[in-house]
Amino acid sequence: MTTVAVLVEQRDGAVARPTLETLTLARSLGTPVAVWIGAEPGAEALAHLGAHGATEVRHLDAGDAGRLPKVRAAALGAAASDADVVLVTSTFLNKEVATLLALETGAGVVVDAAGAEIVDGRVETTQTVFAATWNVRTRINAERAIVGLRPNTTQAAALDEPAAATPKTVIFEAPETPETLVSVEPVPQAEGVPLAEAPVVVSGGRGTNGDYALVRELADVLGGAVGASRDATDEGWISHEHMVGQTGTTVTPALYVACGISGAVHHRGGMQASGTIVAVNIDPDAPIFEIADLGVVGDLNDVLPQAIAALKEARGA
């Protein structure tokens, strides 16, 4: 029997959506147990995790120090000591946690995976590399496997007959670390779905000239999040948290709409694996058109208002 530990991502005490996707995938690999690091989970969170397949929710708290990769890795290791497979959401922090846990346990690691399955007793993963231009399949040779999954790559599904997850408290003493967490300054969170998890992303680049009203409105109409190119965040038009790309957030929504974005390789690397790609750009030679399912050559100040009106009208009808 394969035990699959899933590290829970939280938002304001609730379970974040990528974790439900990860639990769904975990069910196809073995018996999922959830690991919850932080203040004790509430009844709603337990129910949510149980409904998506967690048989147990193992809880441990390390306070603010739990933000340090070494403390977090030690906590995950303590809670998942019996797990053959550990699944985490592929965030920058979790990639470090996965690396540290692998060093501790001898596990093999793949991050940024789009899927995982067991083949001949070993975990194999799929992912895209080289700015999402290649698909690769990787076999984890080690007996234990740690996989970082990208959000939006598995469809979350609840169990037909949800069972309750049993909460368990794990005794944990945070290790001493050579790193000291001096201060933590929370950043205000954008309203709505976080960029990495949004099913739809509408992004604006230099072509918006700093005015995000149309981009935001289209995002609202489509129920999506607002993204941006680095030129736009560098200009200070929109905060850094909105940046899509290789050094920003990697997104794989069902729909990505690029408005006034040229499609530099750094930007493409963070969105090229999206389901459907639509681009609006005034320059017919913009590289973004090479990867767009639909390209509209035109001024976004003309195209977007018309599209927004047509979508609203269709919805009203």
Binding site: R67, L93, W134
Partner: protein, 262 residues
């Protein structure tokens, strides 16, 4: 201030790349130093310049063509270059690479102690961002990763780390390993004088034997992961580009509705 920067040779992002037997196939003229490692070199140069004394070492592990990565670092102003190359490194995973880098760093550190090792935040070819953590662990040094800001004072390095929910300030005593993001600074351009000097500058070539690493413990045999299949992603089918002549927005809306996306 003595700082060692790890720089990786990566294929040109614009060029065609391919896999052979699970490894990236590269040709000598279609790659250079990983772009994000320019930020690491810049961070090191700025610290040495601010201190008014010190040296910057550039270190790479890779095949014969990887020497281009350390040459680029020399062009930017690094003082010394080291290229670890050995057939037995081929197929190494992140843990193997970290082991080799750590052994080479120890060799430098044992002769004259280093204050810092600075790495890029990620190699744009694979973008795993795992190496800095693995390297710090192998060295047994503090890891100050994903630094958007870096300051060094009184034997302590302090970084600001932008996480999605908060900006963290983290510090550690030297020596420490720091990985920097592209927000940390704006890399300089090499000047003509440095480009000419870099051409003739010596690059130390070390084999695994030179740094006391057993090939079997780091190469393909030791790798915990193996790429078993690789293929270019198929091009998107039915791509369409229309020019807006007054109906572009409607075309866009209809397309989304047709695909069930709106």
């Amino acid at each position: 201030m003595r700082i060692l920067v790890t720089v990786k040779f990566t294929p040109d992002l614009q060029s065609q790349r391919s896999f052979t037997d699970g490894s990236v196939t590269r040709t000598a003229d279609d790659g250079s130093m990983n772009e994000l490692d320019e930020n690491a070199v810049e961070a090191a140069l700025q610290l040495v310049e601010a201190a008014g004394e010190g040296e910057v070492y550039a270190l790479t592990v890779g095949g014969p063509d990887a020497v281009a990565a350390v040459r680029k670092a020399l062009q930017l102003g690094a003082h010394h270059a080291i290229h670890v190359t050995d057939e037995e490194v081929a197929g190494a995973d992140v843990f193997g690479t970290a082991k080799v880098l750590a052994a080479a760093i120890r060799k430098v550190h044992d002769e004259t102690p280093l204050d810092l090792v600075i790495t890029g935040m990620a190699a744009l070819d694979g973008l795993t961002s795992m190496l800095p953590t693995a390297l710090a662990a192998d060295l047994g040094w503090a890891q100050l990763t994903l630094a958007s800001e870096l300051t060094v004072a009184d034997g302590t390095a302090t970084i600001v780390r932008h996480m999605p929910d908060a900006h963290e300030t983290v510090s550690a005593a030297l020596p420490a390993l720091v990985s920097v993001t592209d927000e940390a600074n704006k890399p300089r351009y090499p000047n003509f004088k440095l480009i000419m000097a870099a051409r003739k500058a010596p690059v130390a070539q070390w084999s695994l034997a030179d740094i006391g690493v057993d090939g079997a413990s780091v190469g393909a045999i030791a790798a915990r992961t193996t790429v078993v299949e690789a293929a270019p992603r198929p091009p998107r089918e039915d791509r369409r580009v229309v020019t807006d002549t007054g109906e572009g927005g409607k075309v866009l809306a209809d397309f989304l509705i047709e695909r069930g996306l709106a």
